[in-house]
């Protein structure tokens, strides 16, 4: 049986991205470790409380135990933790967060996610696959909500999708996460992914969707009165479907 069942009985959410599998695996290892220590300590405590209650053990011993039990326990805990750090935590995080080592090339879908009170705007590149320059000072109410610079030729075919993140299955997706006003958090639970959207910065997150479907996107950082209702959704499509969807979108900037 897979070791991940410990997460399943703890109601782990369904997973739908490639790195979610290894993430879930690591989480399961840690949970087994936690479970082992919890059971061991609780069992030890129960034995003590039963064995040394006053009725049964009326006079205490002055000298404590002299075994090296606690040292062994401590060393054991340290060894497991070192293995977790060196074997999983460092290398796997480097894969997620090292900007130099993020996927490159034609196959990568690059887009931006712009948070605001209380919605997400996903900024896609058009047919040229190049995202145009944006600047918050260029934001105008309805027509240019992300501040696209119309002087940049790359901007002209860019389009946005409000509260709906559409991605193709099996291809790396890199999202530059940012915010217009306050800190939000782009949390895509089935993808084992989240990233704070911090105004003034653009921080990349990436994943490879591995399952077709539709799920909710949660705002993970308190962003104001309607924080709870800042709901968006993620839709994972087959490549063909995605291409059709992509081709059907209208550029954001009006043609001049």
């Amino acid at each position: 049986m897979d070791i991940e069942w410990i997460n399943e009985i703890l109601y782990m959410h369904e997973l739908a991205s490639e790195h979610a599998e290894i993430g879930n695996h690591v989480l399961a290892i840690i949970h087994w470790f936690v479970a082992a220590l919890t059971i061991f300590w609780t069992g030890f405590l129960v034995v003590i409380l039963w064995k040394f209650r006053r009725k049964k053990h009326p006079s205490a011993r002055y000298h404590g135990i002299t075994s090296h039990f606690s040292t062994h326990l401590e060393v054991g805990v340290v060894i497991v933790e070192v293995v977790l750090l060196l074997g999983f935590a460092y290398p796997l995080w480097a894969k997620r967060a090292d900007i130099e080592n993020m996927p490159k090339g034609e196959n990568v879908v690059k887009l931006r996610a712009v948070g605001e009170q209380f919605r997400w705007t996903f900024h896609y590149a058009g047919a040229d696959k190049m995202l145009g320059i944006t600047n918050n000072r260029l934001i105008t109410g309805g027509s240019n909500g992300i501040g696209l610079d119309k002087n940049d030729p790359n901007s002209l075919d860019d389009f946005v999708s409000v509260n709906e993140l559409v991605v193709p299955i099996g291809r790396p997706v890199i999202i530059q996460v940012t915010s217009k006003d306050v800190i939000h958090g782009l949390a895509i639970v089935p993808f084992f992914s989240q990233q704070d959207a911090i105004p003034g910065t653009e921080i990349p997150m990436w994943f490879v969707p591995s399952k077709v479907g539709e799920w909710d996107i949660v705002c993970a950082q308190l962003c104001g009165a309607s924080h709870a209702q800042m709901v968006a959704s993620v839709v994972v499509m087959e490549q063909k479907e995605y291409d059709e969807w992509h081709a059907a979108q209208n550029p954001m900037l009006p043609k001049e």
Binding site: L10, Y11, M12, H13, G23, N24, V26, L27, I30, F33, V34, T38, W41, T42, F44, L45, I48, F52, R54, S59, A60, R61, Y62, G64, I65, F69, S70, L73, E81, L85, A89, Y90, W93, R96, Q117, N136, R137, I139, G141, G147, K180, D181, I183, A187, V189, P190, F192, Q194, I198, P199, G200, T201, D216, L222, G224, A225, S226, H227, A228, Q229
Partner: protein, 648 residues
């Protein structure tokens, strides 16, 4: 101790009980105010739990109160604003006005000087100033509820830029909850700083003869380390609070980046600031603060366990070193609260390592306490019950921190209910049980009466049950991806909240019938399977009801405690002597209650603090203050504690 001439006059009431410089009175003042704030913080949480469990229903009773009428919506339901306000103030009140003042202010003040044989704190007036600064901070926080803007609404962390952009439409920016929160914090932090300086000086300088470092009770060690944590960790937050105040009031941009666009309009600010800087300053305080909350509780448990197992604390020296290492490490783990802020591999390697390292001294402390009990003769007094329950509860809270220590699992668990469950296990059934244990333990010291045992049981057992009823479901919801701070309890996220995780099994059926959901009820809720039968499976959003109900029942079962505190002061069982628990530390050598100046004769510490069941002794406890038959008491009152040890 030279008797002060003033001692012989009975000071007027206001000087004795209100503007007092006596550490015991100040300790009691801290205690009562902190318990009141704990109750207020609990009340805020109960309203929030209603909104989470029943977002579609009006809150019962509250709409009769004018203040609530302004904040509930037309149908009497909790609004997002009210929820955020209560959420922010629940955290602020519980941490800064409840637990820290009770743990450090009340127990620290009352017990520390007694345990080291000092007549008072080193700076009694500073001590008084500390309490009054705390009280002013608390009143400012409470007063902010009654402003047109209400109290602060941005979480207890008060992150910029939301803290700076909230409630700007109120004319006078100073009189908004956000601003007063910062003002209140400045008072609270100043209070802690004054307290910290006082504790450190007192413990270093005012130990009585014979009270060498390694004869200090573990409680005093923990207070010393806590003092250093407060001294070093709070100034950065005070600075951050003042900088944020400037951002709000004086047009600076310490934490406001260039080009914000708020509500569709450009936010006028100088710009160039960094929201991340605020987070670093906040968590540089925030993480040591966790240990400020936890260490006093471990310390109280460390006093109660030897006393009730009639056995010395096992590994006393190791525990002392562990607590020092813990204090040091707590300063270099703060950014594990910030893994999701775009942290690269190098920095996260550092913080993952330190975070994992800090588990080592924590494991040492818990294991030492457990091993201390092995071979004891355990008497299950009420303080012992709470102290015993503290161990697995705090342990579980600590262990569930492990997945969060690593940045990869944090991708899934960050800001979910898993985190809420984790830190509440540490602080609620952990620290607060430790504090309850302390109240039951030292109550006779001041009142000369025991707290009622029956009421104690009625307080302890339901509290243990319902604490777990509150926080265990949170761990599951967190695994399922429920994020925190949603006033509708995740209702807006149907996908996540309505997922079916468990089949039509026995547990699910029992669970549904527990909630009174017959097949008919489920059908009216739209819970039917594809075949048309009633669907009994668990929807994780339903666990909100379990949690909330547990919270309200927990509140009900605090009543025995409150009654006990007042009733026992007049009608509790009188203690037979000044040392009702047959304990060994110096505080039990004073009269009951301890007079001004504490000790009748100059106290001397003759031995280690936990000499229980010494082989060959007449009784199963040999107090620190009891001279051996052959001991000659040296008549040299000016010796320092260290010099005495050489003389032996």
């Amino acid at each position: 101790m030279s008797a002060d001439a003033h001692e012989h006059h009975d000071p007027p009431f206001w000087k004795k009980y209100i503007f007092s410089t006596d550490h015991k009175v100040i300790g009691l003042q801290y205690g009562f105010v902190a318990l009141t704030f704990l109750a207020i913080g609990f009340f805020l949480m109960m309203v929030m739990r209603w909104s989470i469990a029943f977002p579609d229903r009006a809150v019962p009773m509250l709409s009769d109160f004018p203040w609530f009428q302004a904040w509930l919506d037309d149908e009497g339901k909790v609004t997002g604003e009210l929820y955020n306000m209560f959420g922010a103030m629940h955290g602020t009140i519980m941490v800064f006005l409840g637990v820290v003042p009770l743990a450090f202010g009340a127990f620290g003040n009352y017990v520390t000087p007694l345990q080291i044989g000092a007549p008072d704190m080193a700076f009694p007036r500073l001590n008084m100033a500390s309490f009054w600064s705390f009280l002013i901070g608390g009143i400012v926080m409470l007063a902010s509820f009654f402003l047109p803007s209400g109290a602060a609404k941005v979480g207890w962390t008060n992150y910029s830029p939301l803290a700076t952009t909230t409630d700007l439409h109120f004319g006078d920016l100073f009189w908004t909850g956000q601003t007063l929160w910062l003002v209140g914090m400045v008072f609270l932090i100043s209070s802690s700083l004054l307290g910290a300086v006082n504790f450190i000086t007192t413990i270093i300088n005012l130990r009585c003869r014979g009270m060498t470092w390694m004869r200090m009770p573990f409680f005093v060690w923990a207070m010393l380390v806590t003092g250093f944590l407060l001294l070093l960790a709070f100034p950065p937050l005070e600075v951050a609070a003042i900088m944020q105040l400037m951002d709000r009031m004086a047009g600076t941009s310490f934490f406001v980046p260039t080009g914000l666009n708020v509500n569709g309009a450009e936010f006028i600010a100088a710009g160039g600031g960094s929201p991340l800087l605020y987070q670093h300053l906040f968590w540089f305080l925030g993480h040591p603060e966790v240990y400020v909350l936890v260490l006093p509780a471990i310390a109280i448990v460390g006093e109660i366990i030897p006393c009730n197992t009639r056995k010395p604390l096992w590994g006393y020296k190791t525990m002392v070193y562990a607590v020092m290492v813990l204090g040091f490490l707590s300063f270099i783990v703060w950014a594990h609260h910030m893994y999701m802020t775009g942290m690269g591999p190098a920095i996260s390697t550092f913080f993952q390592t330190t975070t994992v390292l800090i588990s080592v001294p924590s494991v040492i402390l818990i294991t030492s306490i457990l091993i201390s009990m092995w071979g004891g003769s355990i008497r299950f007094t009420i303080p012992m019950l709470f102290a015993t329950a503290f161990i697995p509860m705090f342990g579980f809270g600590g262990l569930t921190g492990l997945p969060l220590a690593f940045s990869l699992p944090d991708l899934h668990l960050h800001d979910t209910y898993y985190v809420i469950g984790h830190f509440h296990y540490v602080v609620a059934p952990g620290t607060i049980f430790g504090l309850f244990a302390g109240i039951y333990h030292w109550y006779p010291k001041h009142t000369g009466r025991q707290m009622n045992t029956m009421l104690g049981h009625l307080h302890f057992w339901p509290s243990l049950l319902f604490m777990n009823g509150i926080f265990l479901p949170m761990m599951l919801q967190g695994m399922a991806g429920f994020h925190r701070r949603a006033f509708d309890g995740g209702k807006a996220y149907e996908e996540i909240s309505a997922q079916i995780f468990m089949g039509d099994g026995v547990i699910a059926r029992a669970f549904q019938s527990l909630l009174g959901r017959t097949d008919e009820v489920l059908a009216t809720m739209g819970r039917v399977t594809a075949e048309g039968a009633a669907d009994h499976s668990i929807y994780l959003i339903d666990l909100n009801i379990v949690t909330s109900t547990s919270a309200w029942l927990l509140a009900v079962f605090q009543a025995p405690f409150i009654i006990n505190i007042f009733w026992s002061a007049f009608s509790g069982k009188k203690i037979k002597n000044d040392n009702p628990w047959d304990a060994t530390t110096l505080e039990w050598s004073t009269p009951t209650p301890p007079p001004h100046g504490n000790f009748i004769e100059e106290p001397v510490a003759y031995r280690d603090p936990y000499e229980y069941s010494v082989p060959g002794a007449d009784t199963d406890f040999t107090p620190q203050f009891e001279p051996d038959a052959g001991d000659e008491v040296e008549e040299t009152p000016n010796l320092t504690p260290e010099e005495t040890v050489e003389g032996e």
